[in-house]
C-alpha cells in the first residue's frame, strides 16, 4: 500500500515537469517581445531594454527557464507588474470567490447527482429513469456561462429575488455571501450534476449486471443491502474517478462563471492579466490551478486504495 502511494506521488514528477515546461514556453515563445508589448507602442527603446533586463529576457532561454523553475521550487512564482505584488499574493487574494464557487457547485452536484443516478439505475427503463436522463442531457448542453446569463435574467432581473451580480466575502455574513453565490453555483453546478448523474447511472448499471450481484440476490439479501452495500461500493470507484477528472472543468467553469457574475476570483485575475500582458501572473495562476488539479487526483487515487483492496496490492492497468 505504501509502495502504491509512493509510486503515485513519484509519477507526478514528470507530469509537473512537463506542465511547467509547457507553461514557460507557452509565454516565452510568443511572437513579439513581451517587454515592448507590456510597455506599449509609446515606449522608448531604452525603457524597453531596461524592462528586458529587469525581466531577465536577455538571458538565454534555458537559463530563463532554470531561473524561473528554481524560483517555483522555492515557492516564488514571480512578480505581478500590473498589481505590483507577488503572484502568490495576487493569487490568494482572488482565491476566495473561486474556491467558494467551486465547493458550492460541487456540493450541489454531488448531493443531487448521486441519488438521482442511483434511482435512475434502479428504475431503469421507466418514466423516472427517462426523465432523469432527459434533464441530464439538457444540463449537459447548457454551458455554465449561458445558464448564468439566463438565471441572472430570471432571478436577478425579472423576479429580483437575488442580486444580479457582485460579491460579498464570507466575512460579511453567511447569508450575504450565499445570496451572491447561489446563482453562480447553480449555473456551474448543473453541468457538473449532469456529468455525475450519467456516470453514476451507467456505472451502477454495469455493476448491477455483474455475477456477484446475482450471487447477492441468490443469497437472499435485501435489495437495499444489494444496492447500497454491494453495488454502490463498486460503482463508487468510477464515480470518484469522474469527480477527480471533472475537477479541471470545474475550475475552468468557475473561471468563466465568475466573469458572468463579476466575482473577483481567479478568472478575473487571469482575464485582467491578459489584458495588461502581465505574463508572470498568467504563468503562476495556471501552474497553481494545475497543481491543485493534480493534488485532487492524488487524493482520488488514495481513495481507490481505500475502496478497492485490489488496488492496494497492485496498480490496476
Amino acid at each position: 500500500m505504501k509502495g502504491y502511494f509512493l509510486t503515485r506521488i513519484l509519477s507526478l514528477v514528470p507530469v509537473l515537469l512537463i506542465v511547467s515546461v509547457f507553461v514557460f514556453f507557452l509565454i516565452h515563445l510568443t511572437p513579439g517581445d513581451p517587454a515592448s508589448v507590456i510597455l506599449g507602442p509609446q515606449a522608448t527603446p531604452e525603457e524597453v531594454e531596461q524592462l528586458r533586463e529587469q525581466m531577465g529576457l536577455n538571458l538565454p532561454l534555458y537559463q530563463q527557464f532554470f531561473e524561473w523553475f528554481t524560483g517555483i521550487l522555492r515557492g516564488d512564482l514571480g512578480w505581478s507588474i500590473s498589481q505590483n505584488k507577488s503572484v502568490i499574493n495576487a493569487f490568494f487574494e482572488h482565491l476566495g470567490p473561486t474556491l467558494s464557487l467551486a465547493v458550492l457547485a460541487q456540493g450541489i452536484s454531488i448531493v443531487l447527482a448521486i441519488p438521482m443516478g442511483i434511482i435512475a439505475a434502479k428504475k431503469r427503463g421507466t418514466k423516472i429513469d427517462q426523465s432523469v436522463m432527459v434533464v441530464a442531457m439538457l444540463g449537459l448542453a447548457i454551458p455554465s456561462f449561458l445558464l448564468g446569463l439566463l438565471l441572472m435574467q430570471l432571478f436577478g432581473i425579472k423576479l429580483q429575488w437575488l442580486p444580479v451580480a457582485g460579491y460579498e466575502p464570507l466575512s460579511s455574513g453567511l447569508w450575504e455571501h450565499l445570496k451572491h453565490m447561489i446563482m453562480p453555483a447553480m449555473a456551474l453546478g448543473v453541468i457538473q450534476t449532469a456529468v455525475i448523474v450519467r456516470m453514476t447511472r451507467s456505472s451502477m448499471l454495469d455493476v448491477l449486471s455483474t455475477n456477484y450481484i446475482k450471487t447477492a440476490y441468490a443469497k437472499g439479501l435485501k435489495e437495499r443491502i444489494i444496492y447500497y452495500k454491494h453495488a454502490l461500493r463498486n460503482a463508487s470507484i468510477a464515480i470518484i474517478t469522474v469527480l477527480g477528472e471533472t475537477f479541471g472543468s470545474l475550475i475552468a467553469g468557475a473561471v468563466v462563471t465568475e466573469t458572468v457574475f463579476n466575482l473577483p476570483g481567479i478568472g478575473q485575475l487571469v482575464m485582467n492579466s491578459i489584458l495588461r500582458r502581465d505574463y508572470e501572473v498568467i504563468q503562476g495562476t495556471i501552474l497553481l490551478a494545475v497543481v491543485s488539479y493534480l493534488a485532487v487526483n492524488l487524493v482520488v487515487d488514495m481513495l481507490y486504495g481505500v475502496i478497492d483492496p485490489r488496488v492496494r496490492m497492485s496498480r490496476k492497468g
Binding site: 431503469r124 455475477n211 456477484y212 446475482k214 450471487t215 441468490a218 443469497k219 435489495e223 461500493r233 496490492m313
Partner: protein, 324 residues
C-alpha cells in the same frame, strides 16, 4: 416413494428482446427429492442455466416472463412476492455459480460475504455468525479457514474461491442446492476435490442438488437422475444407469458417442453429430433435433414429439425411440 422437494412443471421462461420474444426454456418438467442429485445436462444454448436461474427467479425482472409451476415443498414459488422469495433464496434454496472469481464481490472479504448470508436469514450476533462462517469454511475443506475468513477473493486460488462460494451458499443449511457448472472453470484435479466436497456436504445435510453441467463425466460421477436438454426442452429424463446404458434419444446417443474416451480404440474417427444447434428465434417446427438427426423422417420434421414414458424411470421425447 418419498415426497418431492422440488417439482418443476412445464416451466416456460421467455425474454422480451428488441427483436421480439425469445423462449429460452420451453416446457421443462423435472422433480428433485431430498438427498438426490439431479443432473441437468446439455450444450450451450440449451437453456440449462436459464432453468437454474428461473428456479430462484434471478433473471432480469423487467424482461423475463415465467410460466408454469415451480413447486418447492408443495408450494408454487412462482406466485410468491419479492419478500417471500427473498426468504427462500439462500435459506431454503441456495445456488453456486460457474465462475467463482466474478461471482464473489471483489471489495469485501470472504468472511464478510459469508456472514452476510447468515444475518440475512437469522438473528445472530456478530461473533456467533463469524464462528458459524468459519465452521462452514472448514467443512468445505479449505486450508486454514480462520485466515481465509479475512482474505479477499483475489487473494486466494480458484479452488479455494469455489470452496468459499460453497460455504457461502450452504451456511444457512438449505434443503436444495442448485449448482450451475460449479467445476467447469477448474482444473481436473481441483474439480475432483470440489465434487467430493459437494457430495460430502450433501450427505451431511441431506440436501437435494440440481447439478447443471455440460460434462457427462461429471453427471456419471455424482448424479442419481439425469435430465438431458436440447434447445430449451427436456428430451430425455432417466435415472443415471439407464441413461448411460440405454440412451433412448438419438441426441443423447450421439453425445455419448462423440466424447473422446480415455480407453477404447483411439485410431477410429470420432462419432459426430452433424450441423449446429439452431438459434432460439428460429426453432424447427417439428422435433427440435430433426435437422441434425440421422433418423429423422417427414413426421419428425413436421410434428413435435412429446415426452413419453418408456418405463417408470425413463422418459424420452422422440417419435422413433423404440425403433432406433
Amino acid at each position: 416413494m418419498q415426497e418431492s422437494l422440488l417439482e418443476v412443471k412445464n416451466l416456460k421462461t421467455s425474454f422480451s428482446t428488441e427483436s421480439g420474444v425469445v423462449t429460452a426454456v420451453d416446457g421443462v418438467t423435472f422433480t428433485v427429492h431430498a438427498g438426490e442429485t439431479l443432473g441437468v445436462v446439455g450444450e450451450s444454448g440449451c437453456g440449462k442455466s436459464v432453468t437454474a436461474e428461473s428456479i430462484l427467479q434471478l433473471l432480469n425482472e423487467r424482461t423475463t416472463k415465467y410460466e408454469g409451476e415451480i413447486n418447492y415443498k408443495g408450494k408454487n414459488i412462482l406466485t410468491l412476492n419479492k419478500k417471500q422469495m427473498q426468504q427462500i433464496r439462500g435459506n431454503e434454496i441456495a445456488m453456486i455459480f460457474q465462475d467463482a472469481m466474478t461471482s464473489l464481490n471483489p471489495v469485501f472479504t470472504i468472511g464478510d460475504q459469508i456472514t452476510e448470508a447468515i444475518t440475512a436469514h437469522m438473528k445472530m450476533g456478530r461473533k456467533e455468525a463469524n464462528k458459524k462462517a468459519i465452521d462452514m469454511l472448514s467443512l468445505t475443506g479449505i486450508s486454514s479457514p480462520e485466515m481465509r475468513f479475512h482474505e479477499y477473493p483475489y487473494e486466494i486460488s480458484g479452488g479455494m474461491r469455489q470452496r468459499a462460494m460453497i460455504a457461502m451458499a450452504l451456511v444457512c443449511r438449505p434443503n436444495l442446492l442448485i449448482a450451475d457448472e460449479p467445476t467447469t472453470a477448474l482444473d481436473v484435479t481441483i474439480q475432483a476435490q470440489i465434487l467430493e466436497v459437494i457430495n460430502n456436504i450433501k450427505n451431511e445435510l441431506n440436501m437435494g442438488i440440481v447439478m447443471i453441467t455440460h460434462d457427462l463425466g461429471v453427471i456419471a460421477e455424482v448424479c442419481t437422475h439425469v435430465v438431458v436438454m436440447y434447445l430449451g426442452q427436456v428430451i430425455e429424463d432417466a435415472d443415471v444407469e439407464s441413461l448411460f446404458s440405454n440412451p433412448a434419444h438419438p441426441y443423447t446417443k450421439g453425445l455419448l458417442q462423440c466424447i473422446p474416451q480415455i480407453d477404447g480404440d483411439r485410431s477410429r474417427q470420432l462419432y459426430t453429430i452433424e450441423g449446429i444447434v439452431p438459434s432460439l428465434d428460429n426453432v424447427p417446427k417439428g422435433c427440435r433435433f430433426s435437422q441434425r438427426c440421422p433418423h429423422s423422417d417427414a413426421k419428425c420434421l413436421n410434428e413435435p414429439p412429446l415426452l413419453e414414458e418408456i418405463n417408470d424411470k425413463h422418459k424420452v421425447r422422440c417419435w422413433h425411440y423404440d425403433k432406433i
